[in-house]
Amino acid sequence: MSDIFRRDPRAEWIARNRLHPLYQAIQQGPVYGPSGLLRKNLHGIGFIGPNGLKRIDRSGDSSGEMSGRRGGGQAQAAVVLPLHQVSEPDFTIVVALDLVSGRLNGHDKDTLGLAQQLANRDGANGAVIALAFGELKDDTLGEAGVDRLIHLSDDQYNDYDPEQRCSDLSAIVEHFNPQYVLLPDSINGGGDLGRRLAAKLSLRPACGVWKVDNDSIVCRGSAGKSDITRPLSRLLLVMEECSEPVSETRHEQLALTVESDRAVSKIVDHGNVKVDPNAIPLGEAGFILSGGNGIADWSGFHNAATVLGATEGASRVAVDDGFMPRTRQVGATGTWVTAQVYIAVGISGAIQHMQGIGQCDKVVAINTDEGCDMVKRADLSAIGDSSEILANLIGLVEQHKAGASKDVA
């Protein structure tokens, strides 16, 4: 076919006349102007709103309703990131992951991000080998930057056994001879494992690394009071936010298998000890039941905290009124908490209190007032009388515990 653009004066005429019976049929395809330029049909954009006015939504949210060119057919598909493949790596980087409760956390992702940065700097062709111990629930390791995965999943890795892990890691380091070994410098096992490895292999580690510039690194020294600039070393224990996590590529996550020798273990895990929830410092507690002005029945509140196994907290009003000690106060003027679950009972949510719970993961509000600030912030809000709801909750929890103990017996 010839490339010459040919006008169709009749079609143009129909396109100009919205009352023409063939107008709808002509409007199907793209419309070209006399010079061959693509013409946007402005009448086709947008939709008629509820009160009869034309609305144009440019955010792309209401794609279903839009009748324009970017209409419903072009639904927002999940973006597939480009796959980064390393078939024959020039060198390798080993990363031992923390995997708290079997999932990658932010610290792990930052460590993998730094590993990828080191593997690909100046056009280098390195592969990142991740080492996972025990249970692995996360299947997004490839998106976090894992080129190769070694997963040691025997039962023995479910217990605390740092010597076994250290012996496996050192065997892997000897086998692959990686250019760098990276671990998160965390209290979840990474810091301990990295230091054990350093002692075993007589490597001098760089601890608390928070910045990598070409061949020099910056580490926190003097328990956080000084910055040490030193050359890049082979074993790096990195801090959180040392690098951006991988976000633009997908990685292969090829499984590798290694044999692991049983190490002689001089540390035997006897499991976690039951701790009194109120002995845990408020700032560290993972589960807080916090009471405020709306509580009439304080003994019921204390009982609920005991049954749930939650650390007790309080709003400022409850403390000022003498129902709770000052050390239990949550908020900007008290303790800033980091709980995973925070239950606010009868707390309306003063701004100081909201600041204090800013880092909490899941917030549950129990309140009589549906319009209060705490309900707006909460992930789950229960509207009703707090003492009745807590009594019901205690019943459910006791029933659950009884059921669990029956299963065991």
């Binding site: 580490c219 003097s222 006897h270 992930d379 229960a382």
Partner: protein, 266 residues
């Protein structure tokens, strides 16, 4: 609870106040001494490796003596020396080529590199086991050569482990607070200096140390392709109004119960 046939050594260092930078009793080391005194009483040996003639360091060491120790052994090493080598030599020389049964240290020093490697290196060199960040030693069984140790975990949790002797334990901030330092005992206690042997830490002399800078706050990177997306990312509220609201007593209790179960809190 005193174990006469066990040798227990606590290693102390000179701490640094986080704000003023003045030398002081290091917090974790003081906890280690407290734990050692609880277990071994007067038999606890306390050891410091560093310059003996440094006046400020001596002041800090005196505050350990003020806890009721009769003496601290000072392994005299030059400022630039690697304390590790000196300590290994000391232990090999003084314990008939055996190591003490328990060595207590802090998790990391309050000055210098503070890498926290000391307990690990010492354990490796002396052939001991290492237990990190402990909160307490519950019991020691000299016959079975085992000890029950409570380890500090994040979120205030504790783990009980059985460790075979001899071991090195690093004492965490979760351990019981150390007793106060008293002026009289601090002055009466002795600092017994002994010449140590070590080599200079050459690698460390090439490093540059500066006052810690505040780390830059991580920025939210918006990778929007279109102007509309960028505008939305800049103006949108942070996921507000996503909460579920439940009415009714029983339904509420059930919803909260389900959430707690999902989060693994029960």
């Amino acid at each position: 609870m005193s174990h006469n046939n066990l040798t227990m050594v606590s290693l102390v260092s000179v701490g640094e106040h986080p704000a003023s930078g003045r030398p002081r009793r290091a917090e974790q080391d003081a906890r280690a001494v407290e734990l050692g005194m609880k277990l071994a009483g007067d038999d606890l040996q306390t050891l410091y490796a560093g310059a003996a003639d440094n006046e400020q360091a001596t002041g800090a060491l005196r505050s350990y003596l003020g806890m009721g120790l009769s003496q601290i052994k000072v392994l005299d090493l030059p400022e630039q020396a690697d304390a590790m080598l000196g300590l290994v030599e000391y232990f090999k020389g003084h314990f008939d080529n055996h190591c003490p049964d328990i060595i207590l240290t802090g998790v990391r020093a309050e000055s210098g590199e503070s890498s926290g490697m000391m307990p690990y290196m010492l354990a490796e060199q002396l052939g001991m086991t290492v237990v990190s960040s402990i909160a307490d030693i519950l019991s020691i069984d000299p016959e079975a050569k085992q000890a029950e140790v409570l380890q500090a975990l994040p979120r205030g949790q504790r783990r009980k482990v059985k460790v075979s002797l001899p071991f090195v334990a690093s004492v965490d901030m979760a351990a019981p607070e150390p007793r106060q330092s008293a002026f009289g005992p601090a002055n009466r206690g002795e600092l017994n200096a002994e010449q140590g042997h070590s080599e200079d830490d050459v690698e460390r002399s090439t490093w540059q140390t500066a006052q810690a800078k505040k780390r830059p706050k991580r920025l939210k990177i918006v990778k929007a392709k279109t102007a509309a997306d960028r505008f939305k990312a800049a103006t949108a509220k942070a996921a507000g109004g996503g909460g579920k609201v439940v009415h009714g007593t029983e339904e509420s209790a059930q919803a909260i119960f389900d959430l707690l179960l999902e989060e693994g809190m029960l």
